[in-house]
């Protein structure tokens, strides 16, 4: 099946800075695809190249099998939801949404009908004649979404659309976005620096780092089988055990990751289950998070390990006490050298 989007050997250089370094990936039609990474990792550059706002220094961009590298954004069947919403203040909500059909020459009554249809989809039909300035952040975002979908693009690009919203609203919008995507069935490419967002919404996630894709996998595979220390730390905050500590624990020198919730906290010298790996250290701090607690333990080898325990799993001990950490050998994930 032809990928909806394909990047072939794409690089983007700004002078000496490699914003994107020989990136190749393909996104399947109807997929909810996330570009995840810290700022400056290249994920936004990647999005802008797909949209057409920027031109790669080398490589090709294909949309539905066609080479669109040299085609301007107004000729691509791709639409974008911007981080600052980019609603035109001199048009009301309905006119904003109807902008796409307007520049295509569709008549005024027809495009108003289409706009209202789209506003129904995002449940804002009642706001059709309001000015954008009168809307809240969440409402503006939904208008931006409606405006981007009205052209029925093959691909919808979203550039950190939920960044300006508060937590509760963000979670609501995540659910709503996912529902809309599944309802319409078009490909979504979603840029975010929030790994929780990427994991909960996407079918597949590409983790960006310094202009390259470090790992491309489903959320589950990313979480349970990170390939490098960077991915392990960035996605799900696993502990990365390396160097001296790794030698002590496994006998070998290779770094590995262990998820915080896979670690048990025992009293020093307590008996270990079969096949368990362990190490000892001093309890630095316990952070209370409601349903769970995060125990920060400074191991004898010097590295701090974080264990996440469900509430009530272990009796609290005073700071500075000696504790024993244990986990099953099956749960460790060997990491490639970064």
């Amino acid at each position: 099946m032809t990928p909806a989007i394909e990047l072939a050997g794409v690089s983007r250089l700004f002078g000496a800075v490699r914003a994107l370094d020989n990136v190749s990936l393909s996104i399947a039609p109807g997929e909810f695809f996330a570009l995840l990474g810290p700022s400056g990792s290249g994920k936004t550059t990647c999005l802008r190249l797909i949209a057409g706002f920027d031109h790669p220094t080398s490589g090709k961009i294909l949309l539905d099998g066609d080479d669109v590298t040299d085609i301007p954004p107004f000729e691509r069947s791709v639409n974008t939801v911007f981080q600052d919403y980019a609603l035109f203040p001199h048009m009301d909500v309905a006119e904003n949404v109807a902008y796409g059909p307007k520049v295509q020459g569709i008549s005024a009554p027809e495009r108003r009908r289409l706009a209202l249809e789209m506003l129904e989809l995002v449940r804002l039909a009642a706001f059709a004649d309001r000015a954008p300035a009168q809307l809240s952040g969440g409402q503006k975002q939904r208008v931006a979404l409606a405006r981007a979908l009205i052209n029925k693009p093959k691909v919808l690009l979203l550039d950190e659309p939920l960044g300006a919203l508060d937590l509760r609203l963000r979670e609501e919008m995540q659910i709503e976005l996912k529902a809309i995507q599944q309802k319409i069935g078009i490909t979504f490419v979603y840029v975010t620096h929030d790994q929780g967002e990427a994991l909960s919404m996407a079918d597949r996630v590409a983790v960006f780092r310094d202009g390259r894709v470090e790992q491309l996998d489903s959320p589950r595979d990313l979480y349970e089988r990170p390939r490098t220390a960077f991915v392990a730390r960035f996605v799900g905050s696993a502990n990365v055990i390396e160097g001296e500590l790794a030698r002590r624990v496994t006998g070998g020198g290779r770094a590995f990751a262990i998820r915080a919730e896979a670690i048990e906290v025992l009293a020093p010298g307590a008996p270990l289950p079969d096949g368990a790996l362990s190490c000892e250290g001093l309890l630095e701090d316990i952070h209370y998070h409601g349903a769970t607690s995060r125990w920060h333990v400074r191991t004898d080898a010097g590295q701090t390990i974080v264990a996440v325990l469900p509430e009530g799993a272990a009796a609290a001990v005073p700071h500075g006490s000696r504790v024993r950490l244990a986990w099953s050998r099956e749960n460790i994930v060997p990491l490639a050298d970064s």
Binding site: P73, T80, A86, P89, G100, V103, Q104
Partner: protein
């Protein structure tokens, strides 16, 4: 915070207020004096207070054909210069708002020079050029001089507005299928309309009032300021000169105020 004897940080002292208002009054009084003089019955000296008030000089001035001719000339020159400035200044503003490119600093400097260097430099430079090229001073040399600084005025107004426009608007418009021309028409033009209008009006007012450069480039043509300048040294015509002065102030006040009203800071410009 230790308060200095209960000082209110947001209130000026009496002395500061007096100084501020005095400064403002200083700026306004001379022109108001002219207004009074326009109504005086005394026509030989500068006597103050005026012995009597009359509207007589207004009717005399309105009957003077040379004043009307000069006024027509000024209006015509200002219109043409402003029209040229609107086109050329806007083109330049769009180019210079794009972002960094080679030579941008030099071009920006070029656009500052016409107002950074005093008018006399512009005037004598243009005159030198005309002499060199064997061009006779006349209507078009006046327009040329005016258009040069009018371009700068329009450019400054438009580029200030463009710089406040988020790049994402242009990208959003193109993303939705509008090419450069459509984006300009539907998104950019509505946004810079007020800046264009304001710049145009300022340019018009400046051209209408211009004397410093015009004296060098005018030849035999007479704009209203040139008429006025000649009258400065003719004591007999004093009251009529006053009338013209008051009229000029009133006429140019309108575009100035309009331009200010159009470009005053607003709440909803972006987002």
């Amino acid at each position: 915070m230790r308060s200095k004897g209960g000082r209110d940080w947001n209130a000026a002292s009496f002395g500061q207020k007096v100084a501020a208002f005095a400064g403002l009054a200083f700026l306004h009084l001379p022109v108001w004096v002219i207004v009074i003089y326009a109504f005086t019955t005394e026509d030989r000296t500068y006597q103050f207070p005026p012995p009597g008030l009359t509207l007589h000089w207004f009717s005399v001035a309105f009957a003077r054909e040379d004043i009307w001719a000069a006024l027509r000339m000024s209006l015509s020159v200002a219109s043409v210069a402003t029209a040229m400035a609107l086109v050329l200044g806007t083109l330049a503003a769009f180019a210079l708002a794009q972002g960094r490119f080679r030579g941008r600093e030099a071009i920006t400097l070029l656009f500052v020079l016409p107002i950074a260097l005093p008018g006399i430099i512009t005037g004598i430079a243009l005159l030198s050029a005309f002499k060199l090229g064997g061009i006779q001073p006349g209507y078009w040399t006046i327009v040329t001089g005016h258009a040069t600084f009018c371009i700068v005025i329009v450019h400054n107004n438009v580029i200030a507005r463009l710089r406040r426009l988020p790049q994402s608007w242009i990208e959003a418009s193109m993303d939705l299928g509008a090419d450069g021309f459509q984006t300009f028409r539907y998104v950019l033009l509505p946004q810079i309309a007020t800046a264009l209008l304001a710049g145009g009006m300022l340019a018009f007012a400046l051209s209408f009032d211009e004397i410093i450069v015009t004296l060098f480039t005018a030849g035999h043509e007479k704009t209203l300021p040139i008429w006025f300048f000649n009258e400065l040294f003719r004591p007999r015509e004093r009251p009529i000169t006053n009338v013209v002065a008051v009229s000029v102030v009133l006429i140019t006040m309108i575009p100035i105020l309009l331009a200010y009203w159009l470009t005053r800071p607003r709440e909803f410009e972006s987002k």
